[in-house]
Symmetry: C2
Subunit: 218 residues, 2 copies
Amino acid sequence: MSQHRERPLRADAERNRQLIMRAADRLFARRGTTVPLNDIAHEAGVGVGTVYRRFPDLQALIDALFIERFTTFLRLADEAERQPDPGGALLHYLLAAAQWRARDQALDIVLAHADLDAKPASGMRDELGRHVDGLVERARAAGAVRDDFESADVYAFLYMIGAVADRTHAVAPDAWRRYAEVLLSGFGMDLPAAARTSAMTDGQVRRSWPEPPPAPPS
Amino acid sequence: MSQHRERPLRADAERNRQLIMRAADRLFARRGTTVPLNDIAHEAGVGVGTVYRRFPDLQALIDALFIERFTTFLRLADEAERQPDPGGALLHYLLAAAQWRARDQALDIVLAHADLDAKPASGMRDELGRHVDGLVERARAAGAVRDDFESADVYAFLYMIGAVADRTHAVAPDAWRRYAEVLLSGFGMDLPAAARTSAMTDGQVRRSWPEPPPAPPS
DNA sequence: CTCGAACCGGATAGATCTATCCGGTTACTG
DNA sequence: CAGTAACCGGATAGATCTATCCGGTTCGAG
């Protein structure tokens, strides 16, 4: 986040900013939220001072990551709304958002630690809420989903997909699709054949379970 | 965890041990894994020294919590196996385990940080795996589930329910049942009417979303 | 090409957390 | 009911993390 800047960042500064954010993503996903800023700086290949100059404290870094995430989800909602039929629009959003979430191992942690009451974050959150409400409302009016489907189900869906994806991505990066299919059909949505998946690569997943990957302790 | 003790713990020591474990549950659930042992001791109402005497380090405490959890899930599997029909047995386990998980906000954190390769933990894990394999195998043979249902789906189910439950329990403690129903029907399991739930208390949940509760940052 | 503003990175002070030690207290055995 | 082993809790040393400061370097405007 940080204040409005008149001048854009100098090229090297902007480059380092990106390096830091990507490094934070990796370390948050791998080691949970409690990672020394020293380690983030080292992973990014910059000095500690550079991290603190760009992000006053850890919270600012997390908030920046949050904004980045929500910008993406807003874009996905925009794209979905371009679909001609209401059912297709909701389905498009659910699948696109799920795919994004499945690849973003750090999302839960960013969400859990972001300051949602801060000015830009709360605004984006409300805006995304309106988009989702609209998608759901139109799909329901068109009879494309169970008539008790509601916006909360969209978030629940994404949290559930995320939980599965975080624990399988290393061994079967597409396993989440199986559960997306189960959930969506349970919600009464017709999946186009293209979105279907064969049974996941069974043995691999089973052997890796129950083995939650994130966050080594010490 | 601790060695075999000849003598059982003295009464006050055992009482404090329980207090510490329950305090750890609460704090892990509320603040994530990175909670000072000082705070655990304070939440439990004992001195720091008492925590360290009973649990050599944080890892030992987590491992003890892990054992406790798996003991419970093994018991649930035992109970389920007492059901007369294979489909009922699997369903019984899924619902009982889900209910337990839904109330246990610290489970994911305990699992994520437990040392699964340690002697007692890995044994329990394997044993639970055998029980689950058996439940699934018999239910499938009896045609009570989709024929591509596999053991990994049991764990995925519980992780998904947990993800939803952790984010709704404060506002709608039974909301997870809605998603359990969707998932189970998607897996081809017939729910007895008694296990069904009405639509969840809509407005409450929607207003609390997307708002992940755990783990304040600083 | 030259110059200055902006940026870089590491050394380090101050704060926080982990783990230990020991004098005082309490529960169980005979 | 008396003696003792076991337990209690807090003070504290050592380790780790956060955040700052400043001498040296780099980008980009003119």
